[in-house]
Amino acid sequence: MLFVLKRLLFGLALLVGVVVLNFLLIRLAPGDAAAVIAGEMGGASEEILARIRSEYGLDKPILVQLGIYLADVLRGDLGQSYYFNQPVTALIAARIGPTILLVLTAQLFAIGLGVFMGVLAARRPQGWLSATVAVLSTVGYAAPVFWTGIMLTILFASMLPLFPVEGMVSARFDGNAFDYALDVAHHLVLPALTLGIIFLAQYARLSRAAMIEVLGADYVRTARAKGVRERSVVFKHALRNAVLPILTVAGLQFGNLISGALLVETVFNWPGMGRLAFESILRRDYPLLLGVLFFSALMVIVANLLTDLSYRLADPRIDQEGRRA
């Protein structure tokens, strides 16, 4: 409990830090926010600029603006998007779901298949399967994700039209919830695959290493000495321990997954936060950008918290402070 509380508090502090840093970074960078807003409206005169400044509070000292912003954030208000002229929270709320869906699917795919491949490879570290896994994992990792995405699009959406090219739901979609889920799943295949491939490689490699390590451990020898079946030795005694480093990495991967999602969403026009982030950057939509950064950090923090919790469930040796006894 102490741990959870501590992590929560710390997560909160981190979030505040993220907000402050980004706020200052963005506000102190060259560029006039009012001009941006005016530009979005199609060009404007000096008086309109002045009106915009006072309306958005841009005429106040920067620290006052920061204070106001922080107070608003505490109330759950991330401001209005300059571009969309809508509450940032509403915009993000509509986009965060697709991103989580994409990221989790890719992550599950990568972990599931990756670990399976890694375990198989670890059984015979010198065998051909192991070599194949090693090669595949390097290959999957080395290809730029957006490039893989483009290649997959050409292959599976244009030349061999099995999957939709873009989007999350068909524009014409009209059906019940089940069809909806199917439609989304159909759209999800290529993006999740693209994103999953890089991480698949990493998990395969990691779990291979972890399994080789664990299979040489004394307690695995003990299990064998008890007469435990080989399958059970591998999947119960060994994997249960090899999962620990995998979990650690899975938690740390979340930030990278979101980074990858940014590119994948761009390639497949997946309507997630990544695209929103990209657009907010290109439009200098500062409130929206801050909101996206805030939520990305929040997602990573929550993911880390969950990983830590599951780690704790998986490893009884962790003490209150999160250290290995």
């Binding site: 409206m41 404007a44 005169s45 509509a94 939709p164 873009e166």
Partner: protein
């Protein structure tokens, strides 16, 4: 196209239109740009429509009449028009709309001369002008003057950030069903539309697909039906070869989207007209149009789009002539340096504009060194950065794209009037071009009621700026629309898809 006979039309069905740009909101009264205009013109009706021959047609206004002195226009509204919330459309709404647009829309010239709008009765509005304003009728069409309900937008909230901008109430053929910012806009048939039996379609979905290639694949896969505003030569050519789709460049005359190379005439060496002309002679417009754009775009020589009745075909074209360019540069006092370079310039471009601008900038980088001008391409990470640079004159050369918006008064004057040199405002006279004669001619043209005389004034204006060259026109943005050939009554007026699509229908179900 001839309107199809009502009997053969089976109403119903939905159409998916894609757009690469996400609209901020859906109220064209306070937002320019095509992203807002496409859904905006379906949701809001304007007073007039325009046909493909630049002629005004009745829409919300069943009739209109300009006084002989040109100082007032009387508009009579159709009977029974209602907003999507059921309230009737009245002359008060017209007054409110005109005032709102006049006071808030970035195109200030559209309604600046309007001094008052009188509303003698529910269906009559009299627009009083402080001076004659021949562009007024055009400004009353399409997205330029959406009639917005006063009872919604006149509640005292700031119109720029009014919540109803994202949940608009209009009197157009379609009403908003769902607005997912940056993703999709879903419009539904408005059953009480003031034209009986219209619209034919049940639903229009505007889907935002930022990647044009993905858009094309979506059309091919049947996931979309209409791709307006296509500019990529690759996509246009690919779809032209596919007989399931029609590809047309009709419907963009009203917008008049020009692509040009702007000079910062406020600073040396570009303050020297000879240098500007030298650059014009060094650039091969035909190569750009035929090779870079692979024939899909049309060359543009002057400030007014060549398809406009006001265009003057007699202006100099600056066909490529490198020797002449070199001679002009020598003459201007810029001899070649040891490395063959006379001086170096930067070139900016609107980010995200790919083939139309970035590629041309890169072409310049390859081409201008041939006459001794070094070029550095300056990328702007985002639009505001570019706008900031250009509007504060922190540039040498920039590619720019500015729309005519139908009448020169709206879209052309702003670029050349010395009174419009306004620092910090993009798409003002950012070239800092100042010529008293031009200012006078344009002022007279804005008031001139007689079309013949007006054209003569514009002819003179075009000759002067083609000579002095504050900017070098390159081409018309090759907007094309690709659509499923089973669609009937594809909009083909000068406004194309930014005018009501109430007549659009499926000839056979998709």
């Amino acid at each position: 196209s001839a309107p199809a006979d009502a009997e053969e039309i089976t109403p119903g069905g939905s159409v998916v239109i894609t757009s690469t740009q996400a609209p901020r909101h859906l109220n064209p009264a306070v937002q320019s740009g095509i992203a807002t205009a496409v859904p905006g013109t379906q949701i809001f009706a304007s007073l007039l429509k325009y046909d493909d021959n630049w002629q005004p047609q009745p829409y919300l206004a069943e009739s209109w009449e300009t006084s002989d002195d040109g100082l007032s226009v009387t508009v009579r509204l159709v009977e029974g028009a209602t907003f999507h919330d059921g309230e009737p459309v009245t002359s008060e709404d017209v007054r409110f709309s005109i005032e709102t647009v006049r006071d808030n829309h970035p195109f200030e010239t559209m309604f600046a001369p309007v001094s008052a709008v009188e509303t003698p009765d529910e269906r009559t509005a009299v627009i009083r002008l402080s001076q004659p304003h021949p562009a007024l009728l055009l400004a009353m069409s399409s997205a330029l003057l959406p009639i917005i309900p006063e009872h919604v937008y006149g509640d005292g909230q700031d119109i720029q950030s009014h919540p109803a901008n994202s949940a608009p109430i209009g009197s157009g053929p379609f009403r908003l069903a769902d607005f997912e910012p940056g993703r999709q806009i879903t419009l539904e048939r408005y059953d009480d539309f003031f034209i009986d039996g219209r619209p034919y379609l049940d639903r229009i979905v505007i889907r935002i697909v930022p990647d044009p290639s993905a858009m094309v694949l979506a059309l091919e896969a049947g996931e979309a039906d209409i791709l307006p505003f296509l500019t990529s030569s690759q996509n246009i050519r690919r779809l032209q070869e596919n007989e399931k789709f029609a590809v047309t460049d009709k419907g963009y005359e009203g917008i008049g989207a020009l692509n040009w190379l702007a000079f910062n005439t406020g600073e040396p060496p570009l303050d020297d007209v000879r240098v500007r002309q030298a650059i014009a002679y060094a650039v091969d417009r035909d190569f750009i149009v035929n090779a870079l754009h692979r024939g899909v775009s049309k060359a543009q020589r002057g400030p007014i789009i060549e398809s406009s009745p006001f265009f003057n075909p007699g202006i100099p074209a600056y066909d490529v002539d490198l020797d002449k360019a070199r001679a002009l540069l020598d003459e201007a006092g810029h001899p070649e340096g040891a490395d063959g370079t006379r001086f170096s310039l930067t070139v900016d471009y609107i980010p995200g504009s790919g083939e139309q601008q970035k590629n041309i900038a890169e072409y310049l980088r390859s081409q201008l060194p041939k006459v001794g001008i070094g070029i550095e391409v300056r990328a702007s990470p985002d639009f505001p950065t570019w706008a900031q640079r250009v509007s504060t004159y922190d540039f040498d050369l920039t590619l720019d794209s500015v729309f005519n918006w139908g009448d020169p008064v709206i879209g052309v004057h702003r670029t050349y009037l010395s009174s419009n040199i306004r620092e910090g405002v993009i798409w003002s006279n950012t070239q800092q071009y100042a010529n008293q004669t031009v200012d006078d001619i344009l002022a007279r043209a804005a008031l001139e009621q007689d079309p013949e005389k007006r054209k003569a004034l514009y002819d003179e204006f075009q000759m002067i700026v083609a000579e002095e060259l504050p900017l070098y026109p390159i081409n018309v943005i090759p907007y094309h629309t690709a659509y499923d050939t089973r669609l009937g009554n594809m909009p083909d007026s000068i406004w194309g898809v930014i005018q009501s699509m109430d007549e659009l229908y499926w000839k056979e179900a998709p």
